[in-house]
Amino acid sequence: MDDLNRFIETYSQEAEELLNEIEETVLEIEECPDNTDAINRLFRAFHTIKGSGAMFGFNEIADFTHHVETILDHVRNGGLPATEELNDLMLKAKDYVEWILACKRKGIPVDSGVGQCIILDLNKLILKYQCYKNESVTHAPSNDTETQEKIPEKTYRICIRPDRGLFANGTDPSLLLDEIRELGECSVTPLFKDIPSLNDLDPEGCYLAWDIILTTQEHVNRIKDIFVFVEDECGVNIDLIDTEDESLDELPAKRLGEILVDRKNIAEDKLKDVLGRKKRIGEMLVESGLTDHQTIESALAEQGQINDVREKRRGERSASCIRVASGKLDTLVDLVGELVTMQARLSRISSTIDNPDLLSVVEEAERLTEELRDNTMSVRMMQIGTTFSKFKRLVRDLSKELGKEIELFTEGAETELDKTVIERLDDPLVHIIRNCIDHGIEPPEVRVAAGKPATGSIRLSARHSGANVLIEIKDDGAGLDRESIYVKAVEKGLLPANADLPDKDIFNCIFVPGFSMAQKVTNISGRGVGMDVVRKSIDALRGTIEIKSVKNQGTSVIIRLPLTLVIIEGLLVEIGQDYFVLPISIVKECVELPREDILRNRGRDIANIRGDVVPYIRLRNEFEIEAEPPEQEQIVVTGANGNRAGFVVDRVIGEHQTVIKNLGKVFSNVKDISGATILGNGKIALIIDTQNLVENRELLEAD
């Protein structure tokens, strides 16, 4: 049973990747319907899903994708055009396969009704195309008989040399042979010479090999497709050895040895034997006056080169990627975190013991630890492009539904972010893009009337900015209606009436729960739940969100996120005997807070910093620390989302690379602390959730 689950898991993972590729490719084809490369890629992706589906017992998927493959074959052979109708069906097919996978994973029986509908539509498309083709054939002038001429047959030599691991991988080579047989007349020659006796046999390793001679009318790509999903575990060589077609020009001339083998003048292994001793065959051939030394050398060099290049490529392919469960990565990151902490302690202790030998070793260890930390972090980094490509589909479907013309442009898809951040970024981005499509971009006629191009654009870009990543979603739509938002905000008591407020303050109102500007609630957006959820999700990622908008020119939403959630740059501060960490990304400045200032404010928690009024929170009071405050306290001024707030501490110690540890379940309801970290001296410092602290204080004061 475990094995079965493992198979389902492996297959699902692979299929998911392929499905993503399918979606991207369909959208690519939609942009450029003549892109044969993309059409071939699409075909191969479905073919692989079908092939491995059959292998792992996903018969529903195999049967269904077989139909999809059939129609794609028509497209590939240049007949059926890649119309919008077809692209729609391809996307539906992709969704359906995804759904079957989800059902399988949950153990729910699959209802094949949807699939049948898609197949029906696909068949209609083929039928339509065939009618059209027949019509054009009957209308064609009668002398155009060439199109109806029999497609020439070609004969291929297919050498299958599986790697040892083929069986273990779940592949049954007889299935491959069956597929080849379907293509035409063929003779299959099994080769046993590598099978050892029982003593040396690894019964689960594959020692079998086959030589196949196939005569077919199909294109060589059809043969190659059969091996698509075993290409890493199986050497396959396909040579055209005979053709009815006279124009052999495009083929490389046969080498003498091959001709001899083809004519059965000498046996293939004999030839190989002689080729191995290249001197002798060279001499032989030169003696018989057929060729010269140089030609032989060159031919051998060419062969060697091609083999080397292929070998290298194969090696690169298999080494370029491995799949690792994310749980393992998390453990690794955790361990490295511990190591970094231990290293800090070690460095500290060694600095008190004045021993040059020890110091140099510790320094070296410190360097290695840092490198290890950076490398481990980079393993968790993923390109944001995978997320971006999902939105292409979203924009395509929604704009169609709403009768709008919208194009999505993406920039910086190669920007890397922590895996967790990327995963949790999905929903907020979907919300924002839905808003852009529904409220931002106007219908084509309105746009044209306003002097804009009928097709609206949404720009999704990502770029690095220090230890942060900036993600911007920018549309060229109607922009936010500043006045209406202001009126509504005053109505709801969020902003004072008749005040001259900056755009930022007004736009920030749309992040308030229940605040919706939509005149009508559509099924896409407008219920007033969304932007506040977006804000919450971004906060949870320790990020900030900002809106800029110009009426009739468009809106841009800028999200600023930390690169990783595991390590943050923190500011270490001390209160009494306790240590705390504030995320440095939000710290604006640190200033001294003289005692007389506190007195002057008569206990009101407001500091005057260079003429600016900054409300502050005394962490000493907040966390009920009883130690006596020092003469000179310090205030850390933070600013996030446009709100300035100060935190009063005893002493600012300095920057600290903070490896975040969760507080654990017991403290899960502690609101103002987002985690903890272990300092070099072994003490624990709590990481303050400043955002939460400020909000809670505001709530308290409001009451």
């Binding site: 273990a168 080579p173 020659t189 099994p190 029982l198 594959c206 020692y207």
Partner: protein, 98 residues
């Protein structure tokens, strides 16, 4: 020795051990395949290896019984029982366009 039920990638490991135990003495012995209901290329490979071992030891392998599952795999992979028993390399077997 009689192989029951299944001769596939899932069984070959165990069967190899069983076969090796039997091969100890003179190398000639009989495998009854009549009861095989599932068979794949890995199974055929094991049979071939058994035949090779037998021949190497101066004996031979005799395959007896008839099994539809085995016949199908033989046909699909282009292998014949003769090849397995007499240890020849492949001969061309025609299979038409079906």
């Amino acid at each position: 020795m009689k192989i029951n039920g299944s001769l596939t990638i899932y069984d070959v490991k165990g069967l190899r051990t069983d076969l090796m135990d039997l091969l100890d003495d003179n190398g000639t012995f009989e495998v009854d395949v009549g009861d095989i209901i599932k068979c794949d290329a890995a199974g055929l490979q094991l049979l071939y290896s058994t035949g090779k071992t037998a021949v190497d030891m101066g004996g031979r392998l005799v395959v007896s019984g008839e099994s539809e599952a085995l016949r199908q795999v033989l046909q699909r992979t282009g292998v014949t029982l003769d090849m397995i028993m007499h240890q020849q390399d492949g001969q061309e077997t025609k299979s038409g366009n079906s």
